[in-house]
Symmetry: C2
Subunit: 236 residues, 2 copies
């Protein structure tokens, strides 16, 4: 079965966490909105069409009769069905737990440049963004990265036992990649404190399973999505 | 097996979503931090003790050898193990999806009074909070509540098929309860547009399985947690 994958056109966004799992897992999918040149309004129309399990927002995956949304939920499904996470209960919950913690940091990274409202432009909340960014860089980045460092500081260097990557390793790679893009100065200071996290980033970027994708046009560049680079929000 | 449940003392917080499932499911658990009069620092010490699967933050549940954290992940576990969610794949993912959407709104409700940083007092971010609250009341509350209304507007009036509550129904009840506490004015305007959501809130509050808990001292009152009532952040 070829999955139908739906996400906003033009930014990696939350969709990218799902794409990485599909690509590294060698799982056939169609990037529907991009393929069909679908605009925002059409995607909203598709999403709100009559479905037994409607999504609140993209990304969502259509798998036969099922429509599955919420990034971590899609990954839970793909992990179980395609062996992208351990099959045992403890391992499965552990990988989901890390994915949800990654999702928490992703949401906070977004709110750095949109601390007041998603529906306003960055320029309309610049003052507040500066203040939030300071706290994010100072407190939240070390807190989250320190946690992931601890998680990875076990034999093997992957998130779960089993000697191989899971979908959460791919997501952590992408999160770190986003942080490197948005906060290059801060990350150059922090990187030395989190060698395992940086090694994971490097290791995933070199996975043979991902090379074709990472060098293809399908991997969208960073831009005006969740992770944004504004010089005034970065700092050592 | 009696689960050991850990959460900060004194506020309902994210722990309450787990408590409601444990209580309504008749599942034995110990409220460890409260029972032991544990302070914040001791809870942090317990949490960061050497565990194969360390939590990033409370709540967490110790189930024999396993330590499970992230609210939605704990509920996923309890749902599977104790039949608090459908057993089939589509139903299980659907309930998880709704739980994650509830979690998104919970995080946004928190950030209304803490738009800049969790580690600052409300008083240090009052100006920004006022601005964020305006957008939350105007845009986000109708968006989320409208979605939940749609979810509940199916025969049965529960989130999943099967004619009974799931853990996500309990969580939605608690979310609405928090909104009624924090934004009474706004909710009195919105309630009439979301009759199914309000009916769900009423129905869960009357569940026979929850009566002993809801009238006990174990159900903590709202206070200075995720949902806070500041008059200046509410409005019609």
């Amino acid at each position: 079965m070829t999955y139908e994958f739906w996400y906003w056109n033009g930014i990696p966004g939350r969709g990218e966490f799902v794409r990485l799992a599909l690509e590294a897992g060698g799982i056939p999918y169609r990037e529907c909105a991009r393929e069909q040149g679908v605009e925002t309004s059409d995607l909203v129309a598709d999403m709100t069409a009559d479905r037994p399990h409607p999504p609140f927002a993209p990304p969502y995956l259509v798998a036969g009769d099922m429509t599955i949304s919420q990034t971590a939920n899609i990954l839970l499904f793909l992990g179980e069905r395609h062996g992208l996470a351990p099959a045992d209960l403890a391992g499965r919950l552990w990988v989901n737990q890390i994915q949800l913690t990654i999702a928490d940091m992703v949401a906070e990274a977004h709110d750095v440049h949109h601390p007041i409202a998603s529906e306003l432009y960055y320029e309309e909340q610049k003052t507040e963004a500066r203040r939030r960014a300071e706290h994010f860089r100072e407190h939240r980045m070390p807190k989250f990265l320190g946690y992931f460092e601890r998680v990875l500081s076990r034999p093997g260097g992957w998130i779960a036992d089993g000697g191989r990557w899971t979908y959460a390793d791919l997501s952590l790679y992408h999160l770190v990649d986003g942080l490197l893009y948005a906060f290059p100065k801060r990350m150059s200071t922090l990187a030395r404190d989190y060698p395992q996290v940086m090694a994971l980033h490097e290791r995933v970027s070199n996975l043979p399973e991902l090379q074709a994708y990472l060098t293809s046009g399908r991997r969208l560049p960073w831009g005006d999505g969740i992770f944004r680079h504004y010089q005034e929000l970065d700092g050592n």
